[in-house]
Symmetry: C2
């Protein structure tokens, strides 16, 4: 397969304030994005990729430091979302710590960093901001919007808020809302961050501090929920770090402990605490049925012009297949075309980011179909590479 | 049903050092215990109850403050473990914060509180300490040893270390060892405690400090794993605390958040951080198959003279029924008599502490059988009350 090569992020600034679901608004904000492939003459081959908790606009190819994008196995020449056919957009959401306007940037009203005062943003707000960016790129209708986990929620929200501006929705390992248990895990992670003395009420930048201890614990909790019980057992089991037990309460005895600590340490080096709070809250708030008296089918009445692919993974206990089936039912209730694949994969929630032949095969087949649907008008060079 | 009424804890001090699995030993220690019912003349009707993570010796009846024991629905006159028939012993384990010698007591070698230097204790060490207490009470053989969760591990360990000194083992909602995921949750909780600046390396007593923030987070994590996903959904779902969303990252929006914070706050008021580390480590270390090359059946060869009741709960994802079935298999491999009940209960791991007619019925029936087994020699007054 050919490679995308090195990709440079682009910036787009929006002067007009964006009204937010909370009633607040944010103006003068910047979104960072990347694109891969070529927009065809009919502007009909654009696919927007929405990111989940700890990712951003760098979806595919290599960045300036040579790091591959977070979905580089999915997006590229000859890959399931084939950049020989599609013009793919990766965008970083508002409130993130990866370049788009977020809590570490200056609040024009105070001249200081937003910190904990950054407006609370929702999945719907992100989607509205993405819609403006897509419009500015001259794209009237996306061929598809694609995302996994929290990114899948954004893909779903596109069909509810801007159904005319997208044809296909591909939502992987996602859910129509968080369960009480999902919210509970988010809340523990937030408490770990907020009660870290280095958090300083969310204004730690001014103190030259970082609530690393809280971020570490938050990430360790999150990480457990991304992996399946079985997968963790197969990978780590009860394997000791040393040859013998050390009988210690504070040092590492089992390899799983070392692995989790490492994940927490890494995360605390690059992720922003306020962004973590914002993003977990966006997850908590997402609930399209809420404005329809809890009736998910009524909510998806808005999406009658769209077509869907939903994918779930059998060992995902964060957003289990049952949650995707709720979505399938809501779509079927509206006679909306939906394909649903339940992939028997051992990797838990993380499976949506990993290589699994059946999963990638389903994605490839669906994007072939999207191509046939949107490409009638314009032959796309390079499609024969597949 | 008659009531046990108010019960006073008793203390027993042991001068002879107890050798521990780590190679260390502890001398001059005290165990706190309570007893309910009357030891019969043959001393054949004693049942030892082992406690789990945050409980202690106060199993049944009322303490001086009028608080009911943690298994008061199981133990008492006319209850499944009927104190009209049985002499029941509740004992607090070494390292606890409820009265038996623990990290907040004085280390005779230094004249200061043990703190983080308290010896690392294992399930086997606890059982050896309990065996000494039982011996001092003049009981050569327990009719049964009973426990749930970590208490169930102690009940199992009795049959492996002191098989001649117990007839029946009743182990509820337990496992032959912790899975990688179980260890992972323990490790996150420990990191939350240890990285709390108020922990002071485990010597916070000397600083007049308490690592409450860490304890709160630890308890919140633990609590999520005690409840079933479905049970939490039924009890809390996505119910808001107020009529409308407040769009806030730090205040409570959902009732589940308030509930968890409350559990964390309560726990941090009474539980000791060093004890939490010790007890979660005892859980991590328990693994009777380890000394037999991972062969659980080989481990249970030691228990050939015992009889077992194992109980699990369908929605317990901490110690799932599959873990109890591993134990059943190991016992059957040894032709050891075992009864196994898998109770279809919605409450997750916590079910072992709750009222469920089928569960309590199984326990009652089994203790009836134990009674028939051990009571032949001595008629027990009051048994007709049942």
């Amino acid at each position: 397969m050919a490679s995308i090569g090195t990709v440079s992020p682009q910036h787009m600034t929006f002067a007009e304030p964006l009204p937010l679901k909370s009633g607040a608004s944010i103006g003068g904000y910047t979104l960072v994005y990347e694109t891969y492939g070529t927009l065809n003459a009919a502007r009909s081959n654009a696919v927007l990729v929405c990111h989940a908790l700890n990712a951003g606009h760098h979806v595919a190819g290599l960045d300036a430091e040579g790091r591959a994008g977070w979905w580089d196995n999915m997006v590229g020449p000859g890959k399931p979302l084939d950049t020989n056919r599609y013009f793919v957009i990766g965008v970083n959401n508002l409130g993130s710590c990866f370049g788009s306007t977020g809590p570490m940037h200056v609040n024009p009203a105070t001249g200081r960093a937003w910190g904990a005062d950054f407006p609370v943003v929702t999945v719907e707000d992100w989607v509205d901001a993405q819609a403006r960016l897509v419009e500015r790129l001259g794209i009237r209708q996306l061929a598809a919007v694609l995302g996994g986990s929290l990114g899948g929620m954004q893909a779903l929200a596109w069909t509810l808020r801007h159904p005319q501006r997208v044809r296909h929705c591909v939502a992987v390992a996602t859910a129509p809302n968080l369960s009480a248990q999902n919210i509970a895990f988010n809340e523990v992670a937030r408490r770990a961050i907020v009660t870290d003395p280095e958090f300083h009420g969310g204004h730690f930048y001014a103190h030259g501090a970082v609530p690393r201890r809280g971020l570490r614990v938050a990430r360790m909790i999150g990480h457990i929920t991304y992996l399946s019980d079985d997968g963790m057992e197969r990978k780590f089991g009860r394997t000791l770090r040393a040859a013998e037990l050390g009988y210690t309460t504070q040092d590492i005895e089992f390899q799983i402990e070392g692995y989790l600590r490492h994940q927490g340490d890494k995360f605390s080096e690059y992720f922003d605490a306020n962004t973590y709070l914002l993003i977990t809250r966006a997850l908590d708030y997402f609930d399209p049925a809420r404005d329809h008296g809890g009736d998910l089918s009524a909510a998806f009445g808005a999406a009658r012009g769209n077509r869907f692919l939903l994918v779930s993974f059998t060992t995902d206990w964060r957003f289990s297949p049952a949650r995707s089936r709720e979505l399938v039912k809501a779509l079927v209730d509206n006679r909306i075309p939906v394909n649903y694949a339940e992939i028997d994969a051992p990797h838990g929630h993380d499976a949506f980011l990993l290589d699994d032949a059946r999963y990638l095969g389903v994605m490839r087949a669906y994007f072939d179909r999207v191509h046939a649907d949107v490409a009638g008008a314009v032959p796309v060079p390079g499609a024969g590479d597949v």
